[in-house]
Symmetry: C2
Subunit: 418 residues, 2 copies
């Protein structure tokens, strides 16, 4: 039996027990996991340091090494995160929509765990604990497969967390870790639909493509963020400058940062010259359409590819549009479905944008940077889904569950219909 | 450009318009479609009769020919079905969970269409109209690919319904029909994730397996129904006999019929002999475990394969179990996740079963035959999902939509956190 299969089978068995555990047991386990992380700090940092040194020797870049590195501060925040998840309300067991049918049957929906969640991720070790904590709170078993260059760190974390949870009464096998550097383990996991109920790939476009192509397990995809901000003809330009600047500059390397700014032609000559100067002062490279170039000095002419590029950097594509409709059409064509924003003082236009723009999060007069489970009040998140099936936008605890129908009768039988 | 790609692209364009239409427009289209079906009855029956004759000449069996055949009665019920869908409340546009965040942002969820739904089905022509009507009401465009032996009938239906809807103001391209007998069109459709948001395969296990293996589009799978009914030690045996008989006999050829009966040993000798006689009188073949065979004359010994077989026929597998736990373990191992029932007068056991059994519909003291969107009060259904992601159990209008986050601000920007 392959490693992935063995791990997934054990997780499936654990999931049946886990689904019925009361919140108190799960919360105690989360606190136990946090405590274990704090106790094992020195060991974990040591295992990680050796792995970081190996990756550095292999010539990995600074950004990769940064993501791979554990620090006392990161470990502390991870432990605090587990305690914060314990404090969230337990979604499991809620019964809603219970209605009495004409034949007397009571039909309702009960919220239940998804079962076994497979998570395929890259080098960041903190994902191991974040994902394990959220899945546990929602009553799910989890099968983790992290990047091969973080195998030692992730393996140590998974073993530690699994033992701490077991000590608090969580069934063994709940936290499965596929400790194989072999890429084939990824596609194998994605085909274990008898044991895994959902696969969440977290990483670059190539990883997500590969998982989707191989999978028979349902996938909850988190793809790129190509977010637009549209400055409408009726925008408050001072507010627009603050919000658009924040969306680009506050943290450019994340998926909810703005990549393209669209500006209505009626306000372009008032808005773009000062905004362009502010971007320049902040070190942002502007790639613009010809009309943008005419208004902002030093603009690099945008190529077609720019409208489809997630820079994740201090680069911004800027286009002047002739109308609201042109802005929405541009978003429809180039947006990735993560987050889109309009800046306008006109109520009817704002309401139209909310309805007409298709994305996980649609903003009026606020920065796309708020696209985050914590900011939305979900407590924590597994990531941001860009698909439409099951979950769209930040994926919180509720999105790690589903509902089943529960039906209470007193002997009802179905009548034949001809 | 291939046919499937062309159809899917046109559907995607139509979907953007369709998503914003008001209910009145969609309802008028549904009434127009129903009227068109009634007007074209003679033509449709003629096209269908030729196709049925061809299938008969090709040696197709009676059940297949029955599913393929249109009759005046079936067409009438299909038209009535479209009118019933028009009468259902429109799920699109509902805004829920709108909450004010500490920074003043209003964050809520808006219910929106999925976009483009691909449906891959087999020979039943009534599926064409049922699916088109439900998708339209939920604001979705649809790409249909029916079985090759019903190509003429389905094509005529799709053209008729598409034109009737267009006459009522629905954008052209909304109802796409992939009129290709080539099986390759199925896997091609399943990979058009740029244009299709969700694929629903309706048909046999082979079809569903093939779609899941090929798909990069998220799949909403409707697999087999291997439903159990468990007669608990505390069951009211008279009620149990009525409910179990109904679950098996009322319509054995459908997915929510019972395939396996589990009986607690404490009541087996009281329950099984008379129930076995009643089954025999109704022409049901019983395949039983040794303890069943000792209580019921004429039982065929069950093989291991019987516990995993969806008979869809007047055949029932019967097993005597030593405990509630053994019954639940049997269901966990052999159930398909569609519907499971317990018959018991004991409240605590009933509540435990509701929590512990993992299926789209879990029944207490009622027939699994009620697993149906109409019976559950959803108004109508696309089928019954056996997966956990997105929808579990009957798929109604709400399950043909998703939610996006809508966020209303007045200039909020995100503060840097270090």
């Amino acid at each position: 039996m392959s490693l992935a299969l063995e791990v997934a089978r054990a997780a499936k068995e654990a999931a049946a027990v886990l689904a019925t555990l009361l919140s108190g047991v799960k919360n105690a386990a989360l606190f136990g996991m946090a405590a274990a992380l704090r106790r094992a700090e020195a060991t974990l940092l040591e295992v990680n340091a050796a792995e970081v040194a190996k990756a550095r020797a292999a010539g990995r870049g600074a950004a990769f090494l940064d993501r791979l590195t554990l620090t006392p501060g990161r470990l502390r925040r991870t432990a605090e995160g587990l305690e914060a998840v314990a404090a969230l309300p337990d979604p499991v067991g809620e019964i809603t929509d219970m209605r009495r049918r004409p034949n007397g049957l009571l039909v309702g929906r009960m919220r239940v765990p998804l079962g076994v969640i497979g998570v395929i991720y890259e080098a960041r070790p903190n994902v191991t604990a974040d994902v394990a904590g959220l899945c546990l709170k929602a009553g799910n078993a989890v099968v983790l497969r992290g990047g091969s260059e973080a195998l030692e760190t992730n393996g140590a974390l998974a073993a530690l967390l699994g033992e701490a949870a077991a000590a608090a009464g969580i069934p063994k096998g709940w936290l499965g870790f596929v400790a194989s550097p072999d890429r084939a383990a990824v596609s194998e996991m994605a085909r274990l639909d008898r044991y895994i109920d959902c696969i969440i790939p977290r990483g670059g476009e190539d990883l997500i493509r590969a998982v989707k192509a191989a999978a028979t397990v349902p996938v909850l995809a988190h793809e790129k963020g190509l977010c637009h901000t549209y400055v409408d003809a009726a925008a408050d330009l001072a507010m627009a400058a603050e919000v658009a600047f924040n969306a680009k500059v506050e943290r450019p390397g994340v998926c909810n940062a703005m990549e393209t700014l669209l500006v209505h032609e009626a306000v372009a000559s008032a808005f773009l010259p000062p905004f362009g100067a502010r971007l320049k002062a902040a070190g942002v490279e502007v790639r613009g359409c010809p009309r943008t170039a005419a208004l902002v000095p030093g603009v690099v002419p945008a190529s077609d590819a720019d409208w489809d590029t997630e820079y994740l950097d201090l680069i911004l594509a800027v286009r002047v549009v002739a109308s609201y409709e042109e802005a929405v059409a541009h978003i429809r064509r180039h947006g990735s479905g993560l987050a889109e924003a309009i800046l306008t003082a006109d109520h009817a236009t704002a309401m139209r944008f909310l309805r007409e723009v298709d994305a996980g999060a649609v903003f009026v007069n606020a920065s796309t940077r708020f696209t985050d489970g914590g900011e939305f009040g979900l407590g924590a998140e597994m990531g941001v889904s860009t698909q439409k099936l099951h979950a769209r936008g930040p994926v919180g605890l509720a999105e790690l569950t589903c509902t089943k129908f529960v039906i209470l009768g007193d002997g009802q039988v179905r009548q034949s219909q001809r």
